[in-house]
Point group: D2
Chain length 347, copies 4
């Protein structure tokens, strides 16, 4: 009989769910007990994701078929707006790591404004800890419910929080130009994410209208102590995985780009997953693909008083399933890097 921690993955037929499975199946302390996907119930996982063949995974079932009493923790990869009810219905002994957006936003009005549905689980939201591992580690250690950040907010906040907290840059004048690969758009079917249409070209999307903006603003506002509004402009780039943030900031008086570099170095000196681009290297998504790493970069601007800041990660790993597993490790008192030591796949 195994003394591993037994997990279930709700919504295992999406990219977030499948990448969680990819990582968890090799985690030395995890046993995957249940995989759910209502629309694929009854199928073996390899029918939905042939790359997950031959791994000894349980077949997909409906949520209601799971005997939760045999499970210790649940990862939830359902689409936004459907998670809150499902999670509320789970037994109380379960620790829950939610990869959807349903519990990220503290303000119910903001949630409704951006996601178009009412929040129904106010109490649960209050208990939820925002799962930006490096910045909420202490709260995560005792959390029952973790709301993992969106992929963009993870990349942006890891880059900006230390600088804003120390007042090195002006939080009221932030321009965040974001670029994402196609997995960021999920597994849903849309013509503009077909290979034939998304390949060999790029465009902006959700201009001044992306749901990750309020999440970024919430966390920056908490640190600054006043309401922050940011420019956040996402673009779709013809690659599967990877997210790249180029942020343009105004330096506080007397502050230099080198000061920002040092502040970030210091902030993440002991972190296993977040690190500065080595001298002479400009960040690229290629350098973190498939890993739980975040590479940051600071560059002097030719425009006096300004700085250029960069951050890159794999949106499905540190931007979602990887960070979820990192939070799981924290919640269960395990070494934080367990199951997350995958080296970047390049080329």
């Amino acid at each position: 009989m195994s003394d591993k921690i037994k997990i279930g993955v709700i919504g295992a037929s999406g990219y977030t769910g499948s990448d969680l499975v990819r990582l968890a199946v090799r985690h030395p302390d995890i046993e995957i007990t249940a995989l759910t996907a209502n629309s694929h119930a009854g199928k073996p996982m390899h029918k939905v994701f042939p790359h997950l063949a031959n791994l000894g995974l349980p077949d997909l079932v409906r949520n209601q078929e799971v005997d939760w009493s045999t499970v210790d923790a649940v990862f939830c990869g359902l689409p936004h707006a459907t998670s809150q009810e499902v999670i509320a219905a789970l037994p109380s002994h379960l620790k829950i790591i939610d990869m959807s957006a349903d519990f990220r936003l503290r303000d119910a009005g903001t949630y409704k404004q951006w996601y178009g549905v009412e929040r129904t689980q106010h109490e649960l939201q209050k208990q939820a800890v925002y799962g930006l591992s490096e910045h909420y580690r202490k709260d995560l250690a005792t959390a029952r419910l973790v709301a993992c950040p969106g992929c963009y907010p993870t990349a942006v906040l890891l880059l900006l929080l230390p600088l804003v907290r120390q007042g090195l840059i002006d939080a009221s004048d932030l321009i965040i130009d974001a670029k994402s690969g196609l997995t960021g758009a999920g597994r849903g079917l849309k013509q503009n994410t077909l290979f034939a249409e998304a390949g060999e070209g790029m465009s902006a999307y959700a201009v001044a209208n992306h749901r990750h903006a309020p999440e970024i603003e919430q966390e920056l506002s908490l640190v600054v102590g006043q309401d922050i509004v940011v420019n956040f402009t996402p673009h779709l780039v013809p690659m599967s995985r990877g997210e790249f943030i180029t942020a343009y900031a105004r330096l506080a008086d007397g502050v230099s780009a080198a000061d920002c570099q040092q502040a970030l170095e210091a902030a993440y000196a002991d972190e296993p997953f977040v690190y500065m681009a080595p001298d002479g290297v400009i960040p690229g998504t290629q350098f973190v693909r498939g890993s739980n790493k975040v590479m940051l970069g600071v560059f002097e601007d030719r425009v006096p008083g300004r700085v250029i800041l960069m951050s890159t990660l794999d949106n499905l790993v540190k931007g979602s399933a990887g960070q979820a597993l990192q939070n799981f490790n924290i919640m269960f008192g395990l070494q934080e890097t367990k199951g997350l030591q995958q080296v970047t796949l390049f080329p």
Copy 2:
């Protein structure tokens, strides 16, 4: 005997040269008389570019082998810093459309600073007209030597010049986030432009250090009447063709995004190649690939007082060979769209 205009292409073994050939070979008033490429002299063009087989093109020769007396106009696609001497040596009866950077910058010091070589042809530079067709049309009509803009400056200046000229945005606070496909890096051999390394990933490059910045600044400064410094941050995106500009600007007092939209609409109302994204469409490089078109877009920012501006073109066409041919048409009094009616290749 043909009464077509006879052209030569110097440096026909690079992407700029080959795209000029692609377009010129179907131009009804052009006869391609000479193609030069010193390192490939003696070869048929299809040995260097198999896609140009069976078009009745002359073989590649060395520059010095060309009998220029039979030629009316020359397109020069040589690398930067080698063009000025070659062009200076050409007979005076030739009209010259230079696609390199050698005559773009008015200030010899700036040229040396960014390109690392001395300007030797000061007089020629003074005669050169900056080939941004839509904004220098009158001068181009009588020019002997045209310095075609860089691909990025073309996309940026078409977007910003009307707004800066009318004082709708603050020229001293411009952030220009640029994205380019791999042909922008040319045909030279570098590891980071290999498919294996450039594919499935993206990065920034030449941060705060790209040679197109001074060109953009020169033209903006001329319009504003004072020295402008811009943030210009280019990124390399895994596609072959296409360039995408996202510019972030501060609106002048009382000016709205809608005012910017109208100003651009008015500026390009009669232009065949430059147009605003239709209502509901966000610009994408896919929508202009292979054509001489530029699609512009204006978007309200959520940050008060700011506007988001977009521009996209095919870097080898309107960003280089296409605009060169457009300038040729202007110089020879031909209809400006001749030979440039290619419809976007999508998907």
Copy 3:
């Protein structure tokens, strides 16, 4: 009042339809009068295909809204199995170029076996001419209804027909390994054609089960005078456009690869679109992308008595819309290359 030939495009919201529009809009003798797409009726074309903005195209309408009396010819880009009824309902003055499969197969039983529906228009099928331009030119000149070949059959038959006709290779032992880009899968929504799943990988599909096999077999059988069965194995390759055929054949006694090379050269010596790869060039889809060209290649095998044959084309052009337009030119007595002189877009 225009004396151009007025055309309608039925099913203009798919890739075949849009590429027909891309080509036809620049054809000097064509006026596009009607574009239909029942699911998008009422929209301007640029809402469905932003790359077709600003071309003066009519809005999309439903089929039944078109006044066919003002139209001379119809291109039909509907999905297979829906075309036959729609075409049967068209007025008799119209010439029809069908890009679907509905009239390609002579045998109604074969049609039903592979497409799963009954043939209802037997008389129409008998009148239909198989639109492989180079091999059915004479019949096409007087046809009212043309059944354009599938993309694969076009590539395969242009390669094999001359060799089989002359008995240079054994038609009963043909292995046809086919590779296609993603546009070959159409604009329908499927998970395996999403960028995230089709990119950075390749697979076979429809193994020993592809609908283009019976079409290839029909035409080979006609030439040979007996029933031919071929191996035809298609693969999906991460590119948008392009199709590549590698065929493996047994040479007839005493026949060499060089004999095959000569036979193909002779067969297509006067053809504007079909040509042999120049000496030293191995065919590649890059060399024909966006053009109506077909590049063929013949290679000696190291296995005695065998030959390797290659063929490549752009599946949306010579493989569909381009050949449709070529057939239109033949039907209306126009120069066959009219509107089809696009040079390959490379890189």
Copy 4:
């Protein structure tokens, strides 16, 4: 003091070397002691491969700088034809896993014919064991020098050897259509492997002339007991990693495709890395990318008496560095899957 096995990697600046490092750095029993790359000596590994930053790797040095007395095993990732001399010069206590071609071919004449250089190390070659792990496991256990197979031969031989050995298919009539991603072409600089030229298109290459053909023929001939010549036709596909084999074979009398399926199932029933595509799944490179797995498939042909066989792997993993590490495990008596449990990275 570590009791790990100390390894050196010669030629660590190529893709084969870097992927070996990617895998070895996480192998629980390995300590990477030396990394060599003569042209990059003195640099930290992240200057050559930024994705390998922050892994505690030794800096790159020249071969001659390594103190081999502290090393237990060497992986050699040098280009073909340069390996034999370097390996001959290594001290005799070292176990050597060579990923180049220098010791794969038993016949010196064949080696010279295909690689253009004389074999100088005849004795060493005789000692070398061909590192196709699943088929040479017993010999590998006691080998000092292992010649790892080429990527294509690995994919082909795992697919064909069991069938040929049992006489289920005719070894004298094999057609092997191979497709590879760009990493198969190595890190050397060539125009046709630039992103701009290799992207959005595919071609054949080295037709009837690829160096992996004699390697395949050697191993098939050994099994059959007579000289085998195969058709082997490789193609270059726009993806970084992945190799796909479609083999066309004639069935022996009375043998069916199902018999082939069963034979392969039986041959690999206990293998951790080689497995049959699950029912309903057609092999794809996406399903093995980044892993040491090989997915095989058997399909009935419509042509009587023939069978279609498929094999797919990641050319840098099971096709090179992964199999090298698998062989290392065998040579050192470790569990064969150690350090090779990476799950496929998809999407």
